[in-house]
């Protein structure tokens, strides 16, 4: 693959913290102009991987390049090409949103006037105007994340890396961040995204790499992964034990239904998604059986792990960052 079209490439990338192997022989490739998601539970090695790419951690094995430049031997060059926005807001909390943007632009070599112009453009583009003169420590999580994203885009980096951009955000802020990311993607930004949410990887990326215990367990387009994971299902929760038995006999013949007696739930395969939801709901309604809930359920990261690795996703006991600090 020519380096002109490869934004990020890793071969056998490995990082250990003591005995713990955080990233284990990871091969990753992100082409220019595409969005790739690293999907995995807490402690899967996502943050460690992107920190190596951003030259914040030195790999113990293998190599990684950004636009063909080695992250170790050409670290200074890599820092000009990559921009990492981490899980924790990388902003000065005692400066205002705008002062942060001006400072970052100036540190990237812009003059005073130029830096202010960039900050003003970014505050407008990321809808920061309303709180641009408030101190970062007074902003909400979603507001901070927007400023953080804006700071990452000064000078239009060759590769943008977003580490769990929506973790810890409320659903509304998550939507705002998603739409911001979608705009960036339309703009042609090359993006490597880490996330714990299958939904997020599905909504935003061209390619998804599922990682677990520092290793790749599956990779493909969201559609390919979802095909492997299985379709959506309609879960019908019975009001009581008797209703559960009635439901089972009602649905078993007509749909592809699996009983989950412990949860008094009948799970029905729904390849037709909402159409199937409507059909199941009608059948239940017509039968008069009492139910607590009928819901269309998307496959979750847990379903994906179960389907692709044979075991449920387990969060590592410790956060990766904590391990890293202990090791340092």
């Amino acid at each position: 693959m020519s380096s002109r079209t490869t934004a990020i490439q890793t071969q056998g990338l490995t990082k250990r913290f003591g005995d713990f192997v955080a990233v284990d022989n990871l091969d990753l490739e992100v082409e220019v102009g595409t969005v790739v998601s690293l999907l995995g539970p807490n402690g899967a090695g996502k943050t460690t991987s992107v920190r190596m790419l951003a030259t914040l951690l030195r790999p113990d094995g293998g190599r990684a390049t950004v636009a063909g430049h080695d992250v170790v031997s050409e670290a200074a060059r890599v820092r000009e090409l990559i921009s990492l926005t981490g899980q924790f807001a990388a902003l000065d909390k005692h400066l205002t949103a705008r002062e942060n943007l001006v400072l970052m632009a100036r540190l990237r070599g812009r003059g005073h006037r130029d830096a202010r112009k960039i900050a003003d453009e970014l505050t407008e583009r990321f809808d920061i105007e309303a709180f641009k003169d408030r101190l970062v420590k007074q902003l909400s999580g979603g507001e901070k994340r927007r400023v953080d994203l804006a700071a990452g885009l000064i000078d239009r980096p060759h590769v943008l890396v977003l580490d769990e951009p929506t973790t810890g955000l409320d659903p509304r802020s998550r939507q705002v961040v998603w739409s911001t990311i979608r705009e960036l993607v339309l703009d042609g930004v090359t993006l490597l995204l880490t996330t714990q949410y299958l939904e997020e990887a599905d909504a935003l990326s061209d390619r998804v790499v599922l990682i677990d215990h520092g290793r790749e367990v599956a990779a493909g387009t969201p559609a390919q992964l979802k095909a492997q994971v299985g379709q959506q299902r309609v879960d019908v929760i019975a009001a009581d034990g008797a209703a559960f038995e009635q439901l089972l006999s009602l649905l078993d013949g007509r749909f592809d239904a699996s009983p989950l007696p412990e949860q008094r739930t009948i799970s029905v395969a729904a390849p037709g998604e909402t159409a199937d939801l409507a059909r199941v709901a009608e059948a239940v309604e017509a039968s008069g059986i009492s139910v607590d809930e009928i819901a269309l359920r998307r496959p979750t990261l847990d379903d994906a792990f179960l389907a692709l690795t044979g075991h449920p996703a387990e969060s590592a006991e410790e956060d990766e960052r904590e391990r890293e600090e202990v090791a340092a």
Partner: protein, 277 residues
């Protein structure tokens, strides 16, 4: 593993930045100083603490302490100055410990800036805070009737010595701040190590009258040399008792240079290790 790195055509030229280090340091120092008016409590340990000690010793304990040949007010203020400088180590350490765990440091480290500027800005910012604190303490002393007897030559010498000492103490604090696990741990180190040294240093009572063991420690305590040199330059009093106390200015300069020779390389090494982890 680097041998196979093929170098593709550059995507954008690296900007020539001959003055990048100085510029980045200035920008990052501005960042630290900007926080002072917004988090005034950061200045507490360089302002409130000396004020409390001044009031306590001037108006409460002072009447019971008699130093031969000098008013207690004039005896005590050089001690307060030395103590404030020493407490600056704690202040710089706590601030560094706080700052280095901030997410923003990661952003700086992943940006195309001079990495050395991150630590040089930390030192410069802390140094400015120390100077500001010292201006407040000296101003308060003069307002409360301290009457230093300072010739112009001694004034220049005193300013030079204090700047050198503050610079050394700041580096020492920045190093400690990077070594400890938390700002609280830094407070602990300050209380166990720096606090006693600052009190032993002939700060409030003459070293000559101390018991044998504390006297021996005090005679070689770097802060004693600092207090003694301020006292000598402002009041013309020279206590003697050990080589550093008989030659306080030379001793203070040597102590500062020694501290710098130890702390600067260790701080840089520690910082680089954190980078390379």
């Amino acid at each position: 593993m680097t041998a196979i790195a093929a170098t593709p055509p550059a995507i954008q030229p690296i900007r020539p930045r001959p003055l990048r280090f100085g510029r980045d340091t200035a920008l990052l120092t501005w960042r630290s100083l900007r926080a002072i008016p917004r988090v005034p409590e950061r200045l507490l340990d360089v302002t409130i603490q000396p004020i409390v000690f001044i009031l306590l010793f001037l108006y409460v304990f002072g009447s019971a302490i008699h130093v031969h040949g000098i008013s207690y007010k004039d005896y005590m203020f050089p001690g307060i100055i030395g103590q404030s400088l020493a407490f600056g180590i704690i202040g710089a350490g706590v601030a560094t410990s706080n700052d280095m765990t901030e997410g923003v440091i990661d952003r700086f480290r992943s940006m195309p800036i001079s990495r050395l500027s991150i630590i040089s800005a930390q030192v410069t910012g802390q140094f400015c805070e120390q100077v500001l604190g010292m201006v407040i303490v000296v101003g308060l002393g003069l307002a409360l009737g301290w009457n230093p007897d300072l010739t112009p030559a001694h004034g220049v010498e005193l300013a030079g010595l204090m700047i050198l000492a503050m610079f050394a103490f700041t580096w020492c604090g920045v190093l400690l701040g990077m070594l400890v696990r938390s700002p609280d741990a830094m407070q602990g180190v300050g209380f166990i190590v720096i606090f006693p040294l600052a009190f032993l240093a002939g700060t409030f009572v003459p070293i000559a009258g101390m018991d044998a063991v504390p006297r021996a420690i005090a005679q070689w305590d770097p802060i004693s040399a600092l207090v003694a040199s301020v006292r000598y330059l402002t009041e013309g009093v020279n206590a003697g008792g050990s080589w550093p106390l008989a030659h306080p200015e030379i001793a203070m300069a040597l102590w500062s240079l020694l501290l710098l020779a130890i702390c600067v390389p260790l701080a840089l090494r520690r910082f680089n290790r954190t980078l390379a982890a």
